[in-house]
Amino acid sequence: MRNWKKALGVAAAVAMAATTLPTAVFAEGEETFKIGIIGPMTGDYAQYGTNVYNAAVVAAEEINAAGGINGYQVEILAAGDDQGDPEKAVNAYNDLLDKGMQMLCGTVTSGACIAVGAEAAETTFLFTPSGSAVDCITAGSNEFRMCFTDPMQGSKSAEYIAEKGLATKVAVLYDSMADYNVGVHDAFVEAAPEFGLEVVADEAYTTDSNTDYSVQLGKIKESGAELLFLPNYYSDNALILQQAADIDLDVIIFGVDGMDGILSVENFDTSLAEGVMLLTPFSATAEDEATVNFVTAYKAANNDETPNQFAADAYDVLYAIKAAAEDAGITPDMSNEDISAAMSASMLNIEIEGLTGTAKWTEDGECDKSPKAVVIKDGVYEMME
């Protein structure tokens, strides 16, 4: 028994010592630009965090191979895990600062991004690939984003549906407990009448009860809707599609970027997703050169996993950082504040041809690019005109 305790003691001591060791993706060299990433690496939304991280690493390797930024190598620090929790995200942010972070590519989820945004305001350059709530980047002038905002996605969806004449009677089914879903939903419902769409059924479920949708789907069927708008993440949507098929609900399904990933849900019959339309800036099956190169590099580095749009956003963020850094002429020996100020000014000058479209940035930090829609045909994404 006593030996056992001793062994435990030693193990604990080793564990404590190990925590103090720096863990970095690249070997310690001379001066490098250190970029931190915060997102859910474990827990419910782990896929988003890991996709962002992996894509950033792919982009950093490419940038380094091509000579780095202003002649300095880029180093992606070990990912800061926040499990989607604002408080843990702030902890991760502080931890990354200890590890020498100079610029932040994050955070991945919205709530966490708002909390970190308040901390980073005017001190550390923040560039979120996917924090889509409006307040994510309002705390400081040094905060930018790559994706669309939730309200923008909602109203753009309504506009798109009306313009293409897909339907006039629409139904919505959404998670009323998650900020992303609510943000998109509210904007969609608000914008729908402006575009002549009638919301005939507005049904909700909560994160705690996201396994059975039969009641809501039944109501939607009775309402006579022609199109079902699903502003939810793909895991919920997979179940919804399954159960909609069970009751023979024959409507057009329309999703937003959270729908992306539905084809890689385990045990999901992809034929159910046939004809599903979604507003997403990225399709891994697109055939342009940039996408093909990125998808090949990503797959090679990550056990043949297919990257989703979070990965594409993160990849673009790294290249946007590169473009702005070269425009600003920053060097790694500058303080975080100086880098932040210089980068923020340069962000307005750059325009990049990214995976998610041609992007420019406004003074508010919003990304100015046009939305793209895809439709799922034969189990792959196809760009819609």
């Binding site: 863990t23 702030v90 931890d95 966490a112 708002i114 909390a115």
Partner: protein, 356 residues
């Protein structure tokens, strides 16, 4: 010192412990030896310390199980954040924060009474069940609430489009999107939040320790140890249990206030049942009924997963193993024996003062 009785001494050790930790943290931070990570952990540590001390009052001293402390934190957090946002710049930040703390505590206390009055009359595990439900109900209620303010006053609805605000109106609470930007209202006193947190811990300790060692506290513990005996000597069991429960709820509300004002994003999904269980874990592993244990366990267990960040994805696995080891060390009979033996050995080696 000699005249001081054992309980007073014990109480002062607890105050001393908090003050020493505060002094250490301040010295380290003043000399620049405190990492950003630790600096950021200080206020959350205060939040959870207050929460676990308050839960210990219910679990340890009144012998009831509450699984809804996150619910009380949530009520305190939201009511105070609403207050701060509505009042805005009409008050300077210090009195505004003090009032916000009082508002949070009062609202949480009201909910504590509402739940306690019917449930604490019953015997058995009903409080655990009802508080568990309370936590979930509050979470769902807050989730659909939309609150806005304009020149006509405060508007409350249950869906976003129903909020008809006059021009210049401000949406404060946005359902699942929560309340954002509370901490920016307190930018000027943000560096003092740790000090405020420590003062709140001391107040919490003062309230709990004095309650426990008062006439009422003895009645509370008598009711816990033997309800029939307590009733037979004329103690109104429900009244005393309600007293303990309400005080505990109010203090949990204070923890919520501190949480809400320290972070600029308040979303309701944080106050779920996992948080209640986490606080309960702090209390149980620190030793039920031991306030000092609660403080130490909270500090160790809250800081641990953050300190383990170096292990990246394995850190939660290691955290779980540490929890199990701590539980065995604290409660397994073999571990208790071993601890006793070691303590005895140390005692034998020390020169005996009393014998001389």
């Amino acid at each position: 010192m000699k005249k001081m009785n054992k309980t007073t001494k014990n109480n002062f050790i607890n105050y001393g412990l908090v003050l020493v930790l505060f002094a250490v943290a301040q010295t380290l931070s003043a000399t620049g030896n405190l990492s950003n990570l630790l600096q950021g952990l200080l206020v959350p540590l205060c939040v959870y310390t207050i929460a676990s001390i308050s839960l210990n009052l219910v679990v340890g001293f009144s012998g009831e199980l509450s699984l809804g402390h996150a619910g009380f934190m949530c009520v305190g957090a939201y009511s105070s954040a609403l207050f701060s946002n509505v009042v805005g710049d009409a008050l300077p930040s210090v009195p505004r924060l003090i009032l916000a703390i009082l508002v949070g505590a009062a609202v949480a206390a009201v909910f504590g009474i509402l739940i306690g009055v019917p449930v604490l009359r019953l015997r058995g595990d009903y409080l655990a069940i009802v508080t568990l439900a309370f936590g979930e109900i509050i979470k769902n209620l807050v989730n659909i609430l939309y609150v806005g303010v304009d020149e006509n006053g405060i508007h409350v609805t249950t869906n976003s489009s129903g909020l008809k605000l006059a021009a210049g109106g401000k949406k404060i609470m946005k359902g699942a999107l929560g309340i954002s930007g509370t901490s920016t209202l307190y930018k000027d006193i943000k560096p003092y939040f740790f000090l405020i947190g420590v003062i709140l811990i001391l107040i919490t300790l003062f309230i709990v320790q004095n309650l426990v060692h008062s006439r009422s506290g003895r009645a509370i513990m008598a009711a816990r140890d033997n309800r029939i005996a307590a009733e037979s000597i004329g103690i109104n069991v429900t009244k005393y249990k309600l007293l303990a429960f309400t005080v505990s709820a109010a203090l949990a509300g204070v923890a919520g206030v501190l949480y809400a004002h320290n972070i600029s994003m308040l979303k309701v999904s944080i106050f779920d049942y996992n948080l209640s269980i986490m606080i309960l874990v702090y209390v149980v592993l620190g030793g039920i009924g031991s306030i000092r244990g609660s403080i130490i366990a909270t500090i160790v267990l809250y800081a641990l997963p953050e300190m383990l960040r170096g292990f990246s994805t394995y850190r939660m696995l290691i955290y779980a193993i540490v929890l199990i080891i701590m539980m065995l060390f604290n409660w397994a009979p073999a571990a208790i024996d071993w601890r006793k033996r070691v303590l005895e050995k140390i005692h034998n080696k020390l020169p005996k003062k009393e014998a001389a």
